[in-house]
């Protein structure tokens, strides 16, 4: 009886927003806690002794024991986990063994490099891939469609490192159109003090246009190659989503109303696929942010993919876990963001 009356009472909108916001934060922190648990477990399960990594192979037993005690590794696991969560919340991810510098500091250096390239890559992917997919679907079976499909197939089939090397050989070594590997020409290094870590932004803010130009010439090729891969994927998905919508009845309705083809495609069909596209674009952006190891290696790009690979090869667990945490957090963030966009774009999800 009471329950019925309670639910019948309309909830004021401000309260509803508060509730949605609180729920949002709760899921966010729970997911993040889950992520921390996973990285923690990985750190304890891998057969790498963190004490040995610090003291070295030849340390006497007393030193080993003392360091182990100091690192809190004799505590019960749950207590260690709490300590771990506590230090992560304070921004302490431990020291990178190989460089003896805080992991958080190193991540602050490598992640922006990846972020910069990935963002350019996804922008290229979206702004070329989406229209290409739409055009292909609207002209299904005609030559435009065939060309776009072949490009999509190429993006699937060509290995990234090959395209990177060929790109460097052609546009850098042969044509001199772009800068070579690295983020900057060597004599430009250190001219701009990193604020955001995004070189394009930092150099533009500092008004160092020479550095900016150099940064552009270095990033353009790897960004386009990344963009090409995400473009191929996005175009393919867009095409198939569009074909699906174009065969729906409401498209017939739009034509019955006398809609021009442009409106049928962009206003009716495209509006309906935006929701699915958000997921696809979000996932590909997350994938790019993970750092493309191939591209970063070929272009000597000091990004997170490169960093993570090196840390793994050196068995530098603090660095590995830190990088994993960042990548995991990026995934969580992007997922939450697409959920949010979902609600905005799909009236059915708002109810």
């Amino acid at each position: 009886m009471t329950a019925v009356r309670l639910s019948a009472r309309p909830v004021p909108p401000s309260l509803r927003w508060l509730k949605t916001g609180a729920g949002f934060l709760a899921t966010l922190s729970l997911t993040f806690l889950g992520l921390l648990l996973i990285t923690f477990v990985i750190g304890r399960v891998v057969p790498i002794d963190p004490v040995l990594a610090v003291v070295g192979d030849r340390a006497p037993q007393e030193v080993y024991d003392a360091v182990k005690l100091e690192m809190g590794l004799n505590d019960p696991l749950w207590l260690q986990f709490i300590h771990y969560v506590g230090s992560v919340l304070q921004g302490d991810l431990g020291m990178a063994v190989s460089s003896q510098r805080p992991v958080i500091e190193e991540l602050g250096r490598v992640f922006p490099a990846t972020l910069e390239m990935a963002t350019l890559g996804i922008l290229i992917g979206v702004f070329i891939g989406v229209p290409a997919g739409v055009v292909a679907a609207a002209n299904q079976g005609r030559w435009v469609d065939q060309v776009i499909r072949v490009i999509g197939l190429a993006g699937y089939a060509i290995p990234a490192f090959w395209l990177g090397l060929v790109g460097l050989a052609l546009f850098y070594a042969h044509l001199h159109w772009v800068g070579g590997p690295g983020r900057l020409d060597i004599f430009m290094e250190g001219l701009v003090k990193p604020k955001t870590g995004l070189l394009l932004l930092d150099s533009a803010l500092a008004g160092e246009w020479g550095v900016f130009r150099s940064a552009v010439s270095h990033i353009v090729l790897p960004a386009f190659i990344l963009g090409f891969f995400s473009l191929a994927y996005i175009a393919r998905m867009t095409r198939s989503f569009m074909l699906d919508q174009l065969s729906q009845e409401y498209i017939v309705t739009a034509r019955v109303k006398g809609a021009p083809e442009r409106v049928v495609i962009w206003r009716h069909a495209f509006r309906a696929i935006r929701i699915q596209l958000v997921t696809v674009i979000g996932l590909s952006f997350a994938q790019l942010l993970e750092g493309s190891v191939m591209i970063e290696t070929v272009f000597s790009w000091p990004g997170i993919g490169n960093y993570l690979t090196n840390a793994l090869l050196n068995a530098d667990m603090n660095a590995v876990l830190g990088a994993t945490l960042v990548i995991g957090a990026v995934f969580i963030g992007i997922n939450r963001l697409s959920d949010l966009l979902y609600r905005i774009l799909d009236p059915r999800a708002r109810a």
């Binding site: 729906q248 009845e249 017939v252 739009a254 034509r255 109303k257 809609a259 774009l345 059915r348």
Partner: protein
């Protein structure tokens, strides 16, 4: 002069076994009257409706000796002129509002599009016209429905919206393709009555496509019976019980009636019909 004149209309689709003709040369004339097309699934009645609106996309192929709507040849009309006809002079109500309304656009927006495409009025006037059209299909709170999305209204309400959308520019001919098949029995007649009223009031022509003999005979002046892509019988609605074709007779015989004395409903004898 008749509003619509069709001669030897054929619709075919390619298949692995060669082209399949789903409409095999039908002819009819239509004035400002209400014409019913009845037939079973696959008899070609929906394809006839879509062919008239020129909505059969390749690889489907439509041919006719003559297909003239109000003096305009629907076969040779340029696409742009055809678009001007659609929605304004020729319209079509489809079966299920769940699928035939765009799920991510508000009802108001979808309805005012018809006016927008045909370059009528400014934004504010369009809104007024849409609200008026919604009222004309007996929607009491048009302001609310205007803002709603299709998933927020019931099937019967959705179909009334669809009808309002299709009569907003007072077309000369409306094709209703199974307009009530997806609705509850209780709202079927309500929706049909609304549609019927509008058509009489505005003096429009109607092609009502349905598999329901009773419904068609109640709302139409004249009936075409289609079977396997051909018209097998044409008769006045009142004279349906005098139908001579074995298929029509078979259909009529298989309609259950109240106070039934038969133990078993007869079914169509397709072997015998296959020869016709």
């Amino acid at each position: 002069m008749s509003l619509l004149s069709v001669e030897n209309l054929r619709v075919e689709f390619p298949s692995h076994q060669g082209p399949v003709e789903v409409v095999k040369g039908i002819s009819f004339d239509l004035g400002r009257e209400r014409l019913g097309i009845v037939g079973e699934s696959g008899s070609g009645k929906s394809m006839t409706g879509r062919a008239l609106m020129r909505l059969i996309a390749p690889p489907g192929r439509v041919t006719a000796d003559r297909m003239v709507f109000d003096g305009q040849d629907l076969q040779t009309l340029p696409d742009k002129a055809m678009r001007r006809l659609r929605g304004a002079r020729l319209s079509m109500v489809m079966q299920d509002p769940k699928f035939s309304l765009n799920p991510v656009m508000t009802i108001g927006h979808q309805m005012s599009e018809v006016l927008e495409f045909h370059g009528r009025q400014n934004r504010k006037q369009r809104r007024e016209s849409v609200l008026k059209a919604l009222r004309s299909v007996r929607i009491d709170d048009p302001e609310r429905v205007y803002r709603q999305y299709p998933h927020e209204v019931s099937g019967g309400m959705g179909q009334r919206v669809m009808i309002a959308m299709m009569v907003i520019l007072e077309p000369d001919l409306m094709i209703a393709d199974e307009p009530t098949s997806a609705l509850d029995v209780s709202v079927q007649s309500q929706v049909l009555d609304i549609m019927d009223d509008l058509i009489r009031y505005k003096g429009m022509g109607l092609i009502l496509i349905s598999h329901d003999l009773n419904l068609v005979s109640r709302y139409c002046d004249r009936i075409l019976v289609m079977f396997k892509g051909r018209i097998v019988e044409t008769c006045e609605a009142g004279q349906l019980h005098q139908a001579t074709h074995p298929y029509t007779q078979g259909l009529l015989a298989s309609v259950p009636v109240l106070n039934e004395h038969r133990n078993r409903l007869p079914i169509l004898d397709r072997i015998q019909l296959g020869s016709v």
